[in-house]
């Protein structure tokens, strides 16, 4: 029976369809559904800002209200992407300023924002509500002044882990007295003091504030008065959590302040912890679901006392000061734990840390039945431990192990860690994200290619023996979307043999491997719809023989063609560059003839 739905009814129906995946599906149903859907889609996620042009996005989805853009490759977090590489958001803002004046939300990750971009946002979008910059850079507090002055409906300002040129703490004063709509403020990345009285006044007049993440420059003795302005907080990032000397009256004000925050569920901050102030948290520990102590330099015994009172933790981020004994306490107390991240306190130190070993991770795996997501930095690991973890916790979906010293073998058997990671991919059938480390041969990639069928993202460093390793992954991992590789002996063969696979992935990063310039050119020619970008700071790769390996290679699929904003150390391989090469060669030949 044909139920021809009027357009209005379909629009109303589509307004309840939220996920991009479902929206993509319904737009394929028919031409009229496609038109109705695209004209009503409000939220767009662009996983690679160079995969599509701003014009295409805006033309396709004219009623856009919320855009998420990701820029630099993930390895930028480890300083592997040189400054100036790209990821500029300005062209996107410029295009949207003209055509999408009702834009409300911009969320960016690893993109370069400028003060000009911020000024343009501030003056172009009258109903602007959400600004989230995760690991971004390129702007200063001057840009924030523009946002504060003009965005009357701003709900969220989140600068998580961004690098901001902190020129003045007075930008907060630019929020007018009439501004009351703040729901979430994260300024934890700022280096300097913000104007505290302006902050306090702001907090006091924003009754819907739920998230407040301060920076380390906010002194602890100011925290109680700030909190008294917003006792309804759900998420708090403290400033520095110590004073030069312990003051009992600071402690008692803290206790009063925290006790007043009846909705508080998530804590972070804790730069410089003075343990005598930790008891102020005890009244709220039982409600905590998320605790981020990854900046906190505190001893294991103090962490244990705190965590012992947090039975409802779902997420724990902590430094390796927690030690195995601390993780045993987590395993005993935090039965609902879903995510554990243990960061290195001193990554450059090469000495073995006997206090934080594989045993800590095994304890948590054994004790926490809901554990799904692990990021673990350590200095030793064994196949036995990995195998145990895999068998006890087959529900892991994210497993990132970072053994700090490259090529570290199983410390018990001195064997590679192939079988340990093999067990992980074999047992954890829903594994979506995996980071490898330690001594690994091609064998581990064979296991991964065979078993890791749901794997979407793989990070590899200092692993493998030959091209076979890369070949196993590219030919076996059906759902692979992102692959990032550094310092592995992978070369031309596997890459060229699996060229078609690259069109099924978002991106491939390879640095300090053995891929030759000639192979890059060939790949660029063979796969015109991929952007094959060679990054080489030592000079133009065509000034060296084709057989020379390139420094870095970033390959991604795109419907926008080669990008136009490349710096001098990035070259796109493909028809254009080979034509350029032919012209250059002809030019050189001509010069020879003239000699």
């Amino acid at each position: 029976m044909d139920h021809s739905f009027p357009q209005k009814v379909l629009e109303h129906l589509f307004s309840f369809i939220d996920s991009n995946k479902d929206r993509n599906a319904i737009s394929l149903v028919s031409k009229s559904w496609y038109e109705i859907e695209r004209r009503s889609r409000k939220k767009i996620f662009i996983g690679n800002c160079y995969a599509v042009s701003p014009t295409t996005v805006i033309k396709r989805f004219p009623e856009l209200r919320s855009i998420t853009l990701k820029g630099k490759p993930h390895f930028a977090d480890f300083n592997l992407v040189p400054d100036g590489w790209g990821g500029y958001v300005y062209t996107w803002i410029e295009a949207m300023a003209v055509s999408v004046p009702l834009l409300e939300e911009i969320r960016l990750k690893r993109m370069v924002v400028t003060d000009e971009s911020l000024e343009l946002i501030a003056k172009s979008f009258k109903n602007f509500k959400v600004l989230v910059f995760i690991s971004c850079d390129g702007f200063s507090t001057d840009g924030l002044e523009a946002i504060a002055s003009n965005c009357r409906n701003l709900k969220e300002l989140n600068l998580q882990e961004s690098e901001v040129e902190d020129l003045s703490g007075d930008w907060l004063c630019y929020f007018p007295d009439s501004y009351t709509s703040l729901v979430s403020l994260n300024i934890s990345c700022l280096n300097n003091e913000v104007n505290l009285s302006a902050l306090e006044a702001l907090l006091g007049r924003c009754p819907n504030l739920q998230t407040l993440c301060l920076n380390h420059a906010v002194p602890l003795d100011k925290l109680p008065s700030l909190l008294s302005q917003c006792p309804q907080l759900v998420e708090l990032g403290t400033g520095v959590y110590s004073t030069e000397e312990m003051h009992p009256d600071v402690l008692s004000s803290l206790i009063t302040a925290f006790s007043g925050c009846k909705q508080l569920k998530s804590l972070s901050g804790f730069w410089n912890v003075l343990p005598s102030y930790l008891p102020a948290l005890y009244p709220i520990c039982s409600r905590l679901t998320s605790l981020n102590l990854s900046y906190a330099i505190i001893q294991s015994s103090d962490i244990v006392k705190l965590i012992g009172q947090c039975p409802n933790l779902l997420r724990l981020w902590v430094l390796d000061y927690i030690e195995d004994v601390g993780l045993e306490a987590v395993a005993a107390s935090c039965k609902d734990l879903q995510e554990l991240r243990v960061f290195p306190s001193d990554p450059s130190c090469l000495e073995l840390n006997n206090a934080l070993t594989e045993r800590g991770l095994v304890s948590v795996s054994k004790g926490c039945p809901k554990l799904q997501s692990v990021l673990y930095f350590c200095r030793q690991m064994s196949n036995a431990a990995l195998s145990a973890i895999a068998q006890i916790r087959p529900n892991l979906t994210r497993f990132r192990l970072c053994i700090l010293e490259p090529h570290t073998p199983d410390y018990l058997t001195l064997q590679p860690l192939d079988s340990g990671f093999g067990a992980i991919v074999e047992h954890c059938k829903d594994l979506q994200r995996l980071s490898l480390s330690g001594l690994l041969t091609d064998r581990v990639f064979e296991y991964i290619g065979t078993h890791a069928k749901k794997l979407e993202m793989l990070s590899v460093a200092f692993a493998g023996d030959s091209d076979l390793g890369l070949h196993y992954v590219l030919s076996g991992c059906e759902n692979l979307r992102k692959l990032e590789i550094r310092d592995c002996p992978f070369g031309d063969e596997a890459l060229l043999a699996n060229a078609a696979k690259l069109e099924t992935m978002r991106s491939l990063w390879m640095s300090s491997c053995s891929v030759s310039y000639g192979a890059c050119k060939l790949l660029g020619q063979k796969m015109p719809k991929l952007n094959v970008e060679v990054i080489d700071e030592s000079g133009p790769p065509d000034s060296r023989p084709d057989s020379c390996p390139v420094e870095k290679l970033y390959i991604y699929r795109s419907i926008a063609g080669p990008r136009l904003d490349m710096p001098g150390f990035v070259w796109t391989m493909g028809d254009d560059s080979s034509r350029k090469l032919e012209l250059d060669v002809a030019g050189v030949e001509a010069q020879f003839r003239n000699l």
Binding site: M1, D2, H3, F5, P6, K8, V9, H12, L13, S15, F16, I17, S19, N20, K21, D22, N24, A25, I26, S27, L28, V29, S30, K31, W33, Y34, I44, F45, I46, G47, A51, V52, T56, V57, T68, K70, Q432, R481, R506, R557, S558, I559
Partner: protein, 154 residues
């Protein structure tokens, strides 16, 4: 009998006539929830029987029941009794009769049933013919994958 009399004295009754001729006697305040019916009442004060040409008796009965019983609990369970075909016809009815609460309830229910489904499935349950050419469809599928894929979970 006594019940009906007291109803008659407390509020006016109205007759709705479904497309298949089935008649429904409803209280005025129930009928008023259907904005289309309300418009009839506003325009013709003395009207007693209102024709509802687009809605079958079966579905009009369900709509009336919904209006009488709607609350959070009822709404949550409401859609579970009906198959996709009925849900769609009910949505068309709710749209024609202009009952916003019911429209919302039905839209949510239908949206949920097509969550995570393929375009082929959606075409089938809505009985829609695919008029994209194979090339057009391939191009769209590629663009979605390459440019507009789903979110990254962290």
């Amino acid at each position: 009998m006594a019940e009906e009399k007291s109803q008659a004295s407390s509020s006016k009754m109205l007759t709705l006539k479904a497309s298949d001729g089935v008649l429904f006697e409803v209280e005025l305040n129930i009928a008023k929830e259907m904005k289309t019916v309300q418009a009839y009442i506003d325009d013709c004060e003395d009207i007693e029987t209102i024709p509802i040409p687009n809605v079958l008796g079966k579905h009009l009965a369900i709509v009336i029941e919904y209006i009488k019983k709607t609350n959070e609990e009822y709404d949550a369970e409401f859609e579970k009794q009906w198959n996709m075909d009925d849900l769609q016809l009910l949505l068309l009815a709710a749209n024609y009769l202009n009952i916003s609460g019911l429209q919302e309830c039905l839209c949510k229910a239908i949206a949920k049933r097509i969550e995570n489904k393929s375009p082929e499935y959606v075409r089938k349950v809505f009985n829609i013919e695919n008029d994209h050419s194979p090339e057009e469809e391939a191009k769209l599928r590629k663009e979605y994958k390459w440019a507009f894929e789903g979110v990254d979970k962290d």
